[in-house]
Amino acid sequence: MEPLLNITGLTMDFGGIRALDHLDLSVQQGKIVALIGPNGAGKTTFFNCLTGIYKPTSGDLLLTPPGRETSRLNGLKPNRVTQHGLARTFQNIRLFPNMTVLENVMIGRHCRTRAKILGAIFRNRKTVQEEKEIVALSLSILKKIGLYDMHDEFAKNLPYGAQRRLEIARALATDPLLLLLDEPAAGMNPQETSELDELITAIRDDGLSILLIEHDMKLVMSLSDHIFVMDYGKKIAEGDPKSIRNNPEVIKAYLGEDIDDA
């Protein structure tokens, strides 16, 4: 079967620095795929290329939604990439701090709705209906994520773990095919991490595919169907969790750290 996301030869140069070097990577529909590697390996840069923040120097980014045509994502603006079905979270939290929890999720619906400013001013029936649907859907996402009780709070007032989950809720509101998570467990305590583990599994079970950058090896090993390992912008290994755990190249890249608690 055609993979949902197929990336070939992705290269990104910053001046003289090659941050990504002919990277090949693919994500099968409905799988959780992890991208790991030491700090500075180029993982975040990879997400930035994929989501239109950076324009890759060369390479191909192809998205094939199940049962639909393949489209090329190279060079699209971020909002177009989101419309095609990619949504992401950031390594450092990037919520809209002065909007409420509910508004943060509602804004994710923006790319899936059409209502125009005049419709809003003259309150035509379609607009009112659409607004109601957006609120209902956003609240149901918050319920699923466990933030329903906080929907009127400002995002900036949420505890850290809840902010991380809200980022995921906002991404889900864009109705993605593929969810890109950049170190979602960073800074979480073990309790929050295990909740995150359950949440990501539940999202996958709803039929989404997930590409996960993560340093918490326990989480990576328990969640992933497939793992890619990067170092210095290159792919150095890929395989299932077990083969990665025992791969000498990978162990070397992590400087001999025991990757079980890296």
Partner: protein, 300 residues
């Protein structure tokens, strides 16, 4: 006491006009971090459009209320199209350029529009028709507040309420707030940021045009240079209130309007600007980010 009240209302009227212009400065700054120096000229173009449209309409012999409403719409739309175009040709191409480039482009646009109106129209002051009649019910209060003051205050209040509602509750308003808080993230949740920026310029320009029409009808004359002076004052008001903050722009405008009115009334009109700018300097010493402005945190 009567004199005090008279000055108070005259300050509110000035403040209203400043607010209508200051909102454009502050919204644009909030969204793209640019001080749009050409904004005062958009206001001036609004006043000129109003002059032309209302003159033509009165030749056709339309009733006054119809003339006012059509003129208001025409100048708002015409100024909005200028604001939109200025952004597209002078700022959008420089979106990723160093901060100074769009600023210089803005100054260039401001000079261009001033000279364009100077050449297309005239350098003289042109009389502006008294669009706002003296209402009979205002007769008893005429010594403290004129009919045009009342119209300006009411129009401004309505416009402010509409704008607040738009920004707080509509889909477009949410997109504007999201873009102001984190432009890159806004794109990533699927917002077409270019559209949001265009809408911001359109709204800001339409508000300025309404201000231009109202003040022209109030004072009774216009020329190509009015945008410069009003623009500087409104910009001052926006900075006073905290640039980027919408309530701040309104608050700053009223404080500035009242200060000027009282300075003119109790001291001398020669000192109006001295008081206005002393106030600005004082406030910025104690609150560098303005009255309601947030201390800026550099985004990464």
């Amino acid at each position: 006491m009567d004199y005090f009240i008279e000055l108070f209302f005259s300050g509110l009227t000035r403040g209203s006009i400043y607010a209508l212009i200051a909102l454009g400065y502050t919204m644009v700054y909030g969204i793209i971090g640019l001080i749009n120096f050409a904004h005062g000229e958009i206001y001036m173009i609004g006043a000129f459009t109003a002059l032309i449209v209302s003159t033509v309409l009165s030749i056709f012999g339309l009733p006054l209320p119809a003339i006012i409403i059509l003129t208001l719409l025409a100048s708002a739309i015409w100024s909005a199209s200028y604001g939109y175009t200025v952004e597209k040709i002078a700022y959008q191409p420089l979106r990723n350029a160093p901060r100074l480039s769009p600023l210089i482009s803005a100054i260039g646009m401001s000079m261009f529009l001033q000279n364009y109106v100077l050449l297309a129209q005239t350098s003289d002051f042109l009389p502006f028709p008294a669009l706002i009649p003296d209402f009979a019910f205002m007769e008893p209060y005429a010594s403290t507040i004129g009919s045009s003051d009342l119209v300006i205050l009411v129009t401004t209040a309505v416009v402010m309420l509409l704008l607040t509602w738009l920004i707080k509750f509509t889909r477009t308003g949410k997109a504007m707030r999201a873009t102001a808080q984190d432009r890159k993230m806004a794109m990533l949740v699927g917002i077409n940021v270019d559209n949001v920026i265009s809408i911001t310029f359109i709204i800001g320009s339409a508000l300025a045009a309404i201000g231009g029409l109202l003040i022209a009808a109030h004072i009774g004359q216009i020329n190509f240079y009015i945008g410069f002076v009003a623009g500087i004052k409104a910009f001052t008001a926006a900075v006073l209130g905290g640039i980027g903050s919408i309530p701040g722009a309104v608050l700053g405008s009223f404080i500035l309007g009242l200060t000027e009115a009282f300075a003119t009334g109790y001291v001398s009109s020669d000192y109006e600007d001295v008081f206005a700018f002393s106030l600005l300097v004082l406030i910025l010493i104690f609150r560098p980010s303005g009255l309601l402005g947030k201390a800026t945190i550099e985004k990464v």
